[in-house]
Symmetry: C2
Subunit: 153 residues, 2 copies
Amino acid sequence: MAGTRATRTSWREHTLATLADAGYRRGGARNAVVELLDREDCALTAQEIDDRLRADGRGVGRASVYRILELLTELRLVQRIDVGQGVARYERHLPDGDHHHHLVCDSCGQIEPFEDPALEQAIERVSRTLSFAVDDHDVVLHGACSDCRDAAA
Amino acid sequence: MAGTRATRTSWREHTLATLADAGYRRGGARNAVVELLDREDCALTAQEIDDRLRADGRGVGRASVYRILELLTELRLVQRIDVGQGVARYERHLPDGDHHHHLVCDSCGQIEPFEDPALEQAIERVSRTLSFAVDDHDVVLHGACSDCRDAAA
DNA sequence: ATACGTGCAAAGTATTTGCAAACGG
DNA sequence: CCGTTTGCAAATACTTTGCACGTAT
């Protein structure tokens, strides 16, 4: 059914609808952030979001970026990810199928997404055995990207 | 063989030996931090480490705590973990067998460890398929602990 | 004796908060 | 119009750095 064409109902639409349902008004800054995140595939820092919006000519206060991200995170519309660099990153929270995780190069800081259904399955399975009600997860793999690996050799 | 009695060669011993081999001198603050981490099973923040040492009567400058943790992390003797609360946590880096991951309650902030061999396996398997040279990983499961879950109902 | 290790205080970043003005419904 | 959303500036929180002193080898 609808599931197979989930990409048609964009994250942006879903997000705006959820916000409206939850009684939030439509604001320019929020729209701008949602639109930006909708275009991006992988996790951005608050700084990066601010910078890109500014570059787009749609300057938004730094504080607003944080407030908006906090709200969206609470509503589970974006996922906050911490890859261990002391900065939070944010990306669209996608439904289970479209899930990805992150590979972090500890030398150069580069971040790359990857996905693996078997891994998702293992996580779901163990989640069911725990006392917590698990509703989200994230996996971070640390290592050296191919460039840094070669450089080290 | 030795593997089954790995707990006998304590992490503390291994750590001190590695530091010595790497040419580091023995310092009081470093010993205190290593000793503390050896006693603790799960991830602590720099603040918590500082507080406990102070409570033990072995005050150590905050800066030293950070510097020591940084050093130990570099040598892969401790693992830095970020569960998404904007604070870094640190714990002993144990060999593959003794690995655990973390469950975070997003309501009360409580953190609990869990382990699952199947999950480890899935991670190892996918790691081999990637272009990165993966040498570490961590998994964070978010949700509600049983207390918060009941409270919410 | 000579570096390395440590502690204090100051500096940096990332993030949050208070408040007045702008804006949507 | 009224209350939410926004932007600025100030505050806070965590972490890092500079420098003088202590200490292991």
